[in-house]
């Protein structure tokens, strides 16, 4: 082999130079290629980095948006709670308002009733003339109670007969004395207990069966009675204040009539006062 090798002629200087130049060119070309590849990769990486930065910015915005959304949700929840509280409060206030309205209506009614009672009482005692007292009893029955037909009876001096002394809506021929203890009117004269029919509508009564028979009492003793036969067309039943008016009539009408009756026997006011101071001692 040595012989064979030794037989190959040694490369010439020119060959060596060519080979070296070829190597260098190859080396440089590869260097260029490598550099270009590096630059491409660099560009690629830069683009990738830009994409990442953009994604990052989007993510950051997304997070910010989520925070804002959470704030909004929290605000909505808080407002809803406030709304619930306000609705509760409003409901409580409505209930209170209804209670106050009911109370106000009741007070209004009581005030109205008291006004009626005051006026009735005032009128009964505003005169000392028996016909005027009787006229006030009639007005009271017609205008406050709403009675259309009624008769006022007063007991005679032996207490056995109730004599009609005033009436409204009843024929003169029907106005006859009633024996105490007999019939609806006579029974109330005897017992001193009122008799009031209940119902709605009450309907119409008669002299034999009045809608109400009210005793007029002085010191628990019957002086007379009021028989209510019929109410005004627009009044179908008794109302609360009627019972109060019946009590008032029972307690005051007789006293007013009796006082007026006694007073008319006196020539003047001073004579009527005679002996009063002694009797008050």
């Amino acid at each position: 082999m040595d012989e064979k090798t030794s037989s190959t002629p040694p490369p010439s200087q020119a060959d060596i130079t060519r080979e070296r130049e070829s190597f260098v060119r190859n080396f440089l070309r590869k260097g260029v290629e490598f550099t270009e590849e590096l630059l491409r990769e660099n560009d690629e990486l830069r683009r990738h980095a830009q994409l990442l930065e953009r994604d990052n910015a989007e993510l950051r915005a997304q997070v910010k948006s989520d925070d804002a959304m959470r704030d909004v949700l929290r605000t909505i929840e808080r407002l809803e709670q406030e709304k619930r509280n306000l609705l509760d409060r409003s409901s409580q206030l409505e209930q209170a308002t209804r209670r106050y309205e009911g109370r106000y209506a009741a007070i209004e009614q009581e005030l109205n009733d008291l006004a009626n009672l005051y006026v009735a009482s005032f009128q009964l005692h505003s005169t000392l003339k028996p016909p005027h007292v009787l006229q006030h009893i009639r007005e009271l029955l017609a205008q406050l109670v709403g009675a259309e037909c009624f008769v006022v009876y007063v007991l005679n001096d032996d207490g056995k007969l109730a004599i009609p002394v005033g009436s409204e809506g009843v024929a003169e021929s029907e106005l006859t004395p009633v024996r105490v203890g007999e019939g609806a009117i006579g029974s109330v004269c005897a017992s001193g207990q009122s008799s009031v029919k209940q119902g709605n509508p009450l309907g119409e009564g008669s002299l034999g069966a009045p809608l109400a028979v009210l005793p007029m009492l002085v010191d628990g003793q019957t002086v007379g009675v009021i028989a209510i036969i019929r109410l005004l067309e627009q009044k179908e039943a008794w109302v609360q204040v009627d019972q109060e008016l019946f009590h008032l009539l029972g307690a005051h009408a007789a006293a007013a009539l009796l006082a007026a009756h006694l007073y008319q026997k006196e020539p003047d006011l001073l004579s009527a006062l005679a002996g009063l101071s002694e009797s008050l001692k």
């Binding site: 209004e108 006004a115 006026v119 406050l144 109670v145 005004l232």
Partner: protein
């Protein structure tokens, strides 16, 4: 008695000053030369009744437009119709209830 009740009711309306009259003639006398906002009258009055009063007021140039409430007796439809035909603006039937009077007056005077 009814007048006293009505005055009682009207005194609840603080805006009003109430002037009372004994009958229709007295009412016309009080109306003359004064300015009133409303008249509330009973149909039954001595000397000049409520219906005549309504008629007189409606023919009086100075008061022909004044609102009038008439209190009718026993809910008589005839009285009510006559009162309205003569020019009453409203009627109230007995028995008198203060809230009813107040409500009618407020309605006609457009009070709160």
């Amino acid at each position: 008695m009814m007048r006293q009740l009505i005055v009682f009711a009207l005194h609840r309306l603080r805006e009003l000053e109430v002037v009372e009259a004994d009958d229709g003639v007295d009412a016309m006398r009080k109306l003359a030369g004064s300015k009133f906002d409303i008249v509330v009258t009973d149909i039954n009055m001595p000397i000049m009744d409520g219906l005549k009063l309504v008629k007189r007021i409606r023919t009086d140039e100075a008061h022909k437009n004044i609102p009038i409430i008439i209190i009718t007796t026993e809910g008589s439809q005839e009285d009510r119709s006559r009162a309205l035909a003569l020019g009453a603006n409203a009627y109230i039937t007995k028995p008198i209830q203060a809230p009813q009077v107040i409500a009618k007056v407020k309605e006609l005077l457009k009070l709160e």
